[in-house]
């Protein structure tokens, strides 16, 4: 698939220079089916950055991420990056701005998802998206000093910042009977913190504005002080519920910068197959456990506590098996650059297979109860609708996208072994309501159980690690992994000494949060917790 490549070269010819230097290898060697999995990078003059976006929009591409780097150690000013995707193709477009004039043309009017990316770039790197309609800070709260740009190399991150006076102007609604409900950052349940500002008339919600950033821990800056190996531990804690997916995406990005040294004659010089398959095994187990938890949570939010407790029993059993076999209930720190830290025995294999039989049996019984309950159906159908048109426009990913008619899953579009052999069956629904988001999860649990079984039947023998070489200076690596929430993107860049110069993290939540705002109009305030749970986006993964 080279649609985007062709589009950019035919529109800009030689002015769009392909950047091969920074990307030593395609992230994974081409597969039999069409060589999916690579990323191509182009460099364009600054004023063309938005023209490329225009062309990409016409080519029906999706804006995956937009970010900035401080490349002053290489004497290049700030790097501005945009990543686009269409089908199995990912394309990175970059441009540079000089340090003394840190501005670039905004893409927000072309792609809605650029809206928060660019506010964040402005807030944390101090690069100005010219033409952006709303430059209120994002993640950066009102009491930060205005000139604090933590991602710049000149910023001393080790010191606490002073608090200054400031106010965050929320969007207002006025009129007879309109009132505001501020919620958070500390919420009523056992969940992460964030602020929601509702404008309502009676029970009907007119508008919702999210304000996040409360759990900003300086993760991206923290990466720059860690070794490549420690980075995997930090990636595993970007969003604790997606620890496998995040550490996997990080490791794949790191591995992409640095080809493995073949250990002996005939060595493929790449990750052992067994390691890849074990990674996928953990990824699917993480998906099942989280989806089970969410289904219980959705039922609980319509006061059907019975299914909450039933689903949470299934989840707990899975976590205990994880603890027994992988040594950690969430399988944290089991994926490292160059492989995995834990192998499974023949007995463990049998145990997981038996567990999957048990799970199928128990799960299907609960699904029947879910499906047959009219009072449950009455609440979940037609609540929190995200239409397929909006989903496409917002560029959402993961089960949120698949519940709203978008056929995106990077296990299909950007597969790594074993997904090139064990191809997941993707469920796409059109209604985009709470029910659709729940039902997509049900189908994904069924499919993941099948994949887990297939992995165990076909698990290749061999090593589980290979010697990993840290990247040489000024190399970039890119990877996408389909976590249970959706597409997780990592882009890393090595510095002059081969250290981490920049690690860009894009959790699915960074694009999906805004879809919650867009799906809530016209719903009633008491349905908000239900709608929110059906999205269940990460605060920590968004705030970094």
């Amino acid at each position: 698939m080279t649609t985007l490549n062709n589009t950019i070269t035919s529109a800009f010819g030689g002015d769009a220079k392909q950047d091969t230097g920074q990307y030593p290898t395609p992230p994974i060697p081409p597969f039999d089916k069409g060589g999916a999995g690579g990323v191509t990078a182009y460099q364009v003059p600054r004023e063309w950055f938005v023209n490329v976006a225009k062309v990409m929009k016409t080519a029906d591409a999706r804006l995956v991420a937009e970010w900035a780097t401080d490349e002053s150690p290489f004497g290049r000013g700030f790097g501005i990056y945009a990543c686009y995707a269409k089908d199995s193709e990912y394309l990175i477009v970059k441009t540079y701005t000089p340090l003394e004039d840190p501005a670039f043309p905004s893409l927000t009017k072309k792609f809605v998802s650029a809206y928060r990316f660019e506010r964040q770039m402005k807030s944390l790197m101090g690069v100005v998206p010219v033409g952006h309609p709303d430059l209120r800070p994002w993640i950066k709260h009102e009491d930060w000093p205005e000139d604090a740009y933590p991602l710049r190399k000149t910023f001393d991150a080790s010191k606490p910042m002073p608090r200054v006076k400031g106010e965050y102007p929320f969007i207002k609604a006025e009129g007879e009977g309109v009132y505001e409900i501020p919620v958070g950052p500390v919420h009523a349940g056992i969940i992460e913190p964030g602020h929601f500002r509702f404008q309502a008339v009676g029970e009907d919600i007119i508008n919702l504005e999210e304000r996040l950033g409360y759990v900003h821990k300086g993760i991206e800056k923290r990466f720059e002080t860690l070794s490549w190996k420690e980075g995997a531990r930090l990636a595993g804690r970007v969003s604790g519920d997606s620890t496998v997916a995040h550490s996997l995406a990080y490791c794949r990005a790191v591995e992409a910068t640095s080809p493995f040294i073949p250990l002996h004659e005939g060595d493929r010089g790449r990750l052992p197959e067994r390691a890849e398959w074990l990674r996928a095994l953990m990824l699917e187990r993480e998906r099942i456990a989280n989806h089970l938890g969410d289904l219980g949570g959705i039922c609980n939010d319509v006061a059907f506590a019975f299914l909450l407790y039933q689903f949470s029993i299934l989840k707990e059993k899975l976590l205990r098996t994880n603890h027994k076999i992988f040594g950690h209930r969430f399988m944290m720190d089991r994926i490292i650059p160059g492989g995995v830290t834990v192998d499974i025995s023949k007995d463990a294999k049998e145990e997981i297979l038996a567990e999957m039989d048990w799970l199928t049996n128990e799960f299907e019984r609960l699904v029947t109860i879910y499906d047959e309950n009219p009072s449950l159906e009455d609440r979940v159908r037609d609540a929190g609708i995200l239409t397929p048109e909006k989903a496409k426009e917002l560029g959402v990913v993961g089960f949120v996208a698949r519940a709203s008619g978008q056929n995106i899953d990077c296990r299909i579009q950007n597969p790594f072994p074993p997904y090139n052999i064990i191809v997941p069956k993707i469920t796409v629904l059109q209604s985009g309501d709470v029910h659709a988001r729940a039902w997509v999860r049900i189908e994904e649990i069924r499919e993941s159980i099948r994949i887990v079984r297939a992995i165990l039947y076909g698990l290749p023998d061999g090593d589980i690690t290979v010697k990993f070489n840290p990247p040489s200076p000024d190399k970039a690596g890119f990877a996408v992994v389909e976590g249970w929430r959706g597409e997780i993107v990592y882009w890393i860049h090595s510095g002059a000494l081969g250290e981490i110069n920049r690690c860009m993290v894009r959790d699915p939540s960074s694009v999906n949060w805004i879809a919650l705002e867009q799906s809530i109009h016209g719903n009633i305030v008491p349905d908000f917790p239900l709608c929110n749970k059906s999205f269940n986006q990460s605060y920590s993964g968004n705030d970094l």
Binding site: E192, H216, G240, Y309, S312, E316, F330, T368, I369
Partner: protein, 169 residues
């Protein structure tokens, strides 16, 4: 409806007696916890959980102590939506700069005498996030902490044990 009743009878009571759910060395934790809650809190210990910057890992395990297998409610432990009703704050960290004020306000809104339990390695010293412009480190740097529960994240059994340590203090 019949299916629901059938499933309820099939499932029975899955709640485990605590000693079998956790290591042998804390045998009796359940009984001691129940006794302490009964004696010191008139049979009901009410907890307000505050995520002050966690990655959500600790929250998953705090959820788990509410599931039918650990079933913390049998010891009289109950999670509340408001700090005004709380006897104990269960705080996860590291405390982010953007949550510092909210955490202090929650602490001040909790009536004295109050217990504070910090959950997880990050709640202890900031964990892998350490201390920087955005992360202020452990919970103890912001509010007084009675008990720390280590682990990344601590298991549900470890969290119950930590709560016991706090109420026995």
């Amino acid at each position: 409806m019949l299916r629901i009743l059938h499933q309820i009878f099939r499932t029975g009571i899955v709640t485990e007696p605590l000693p079998s759910a956790v290591e042998a060395e804390i045998e009796g934790t359940g009984a001691r916890l129940e006794e302490a809650v009964r004696r010191r809190f008139c049979r009901s210990l009410t907890i307000r959980q505050v995520d002050a910057g966690s990655c959500n890992g600790c929250e998953l395990e705090i959820h788990a102590i509410n599931n039918p297998i650990y079933n913390c409610e049998r010891f009289g432990i109950h999670f509340t939506a408001s700090p005004r009703f709380a006897d104990m704050l269960l705080v996860t960290g590291p405390v982010s700069r953007n949550m510092e004020i909210a955490l202090r306000r929650t602490y001040n809104a909790t009536p004295a005498p109050k217990l504070v339990v910090a959950v997880g390695d990050c709640g202890y010293n900031g964990g892998i996030f350490g201390e920087n412009y955005a992360s202020l480190g452990g919970v103890g740097k912001i509010i007084p902490v009675d008990v720390y529960i280590h682990g990344c994240p601590p298991t549900p059994a470890a969290i119950l044990r930590g709560i016991l340590r706090a109420v026995e203090k």
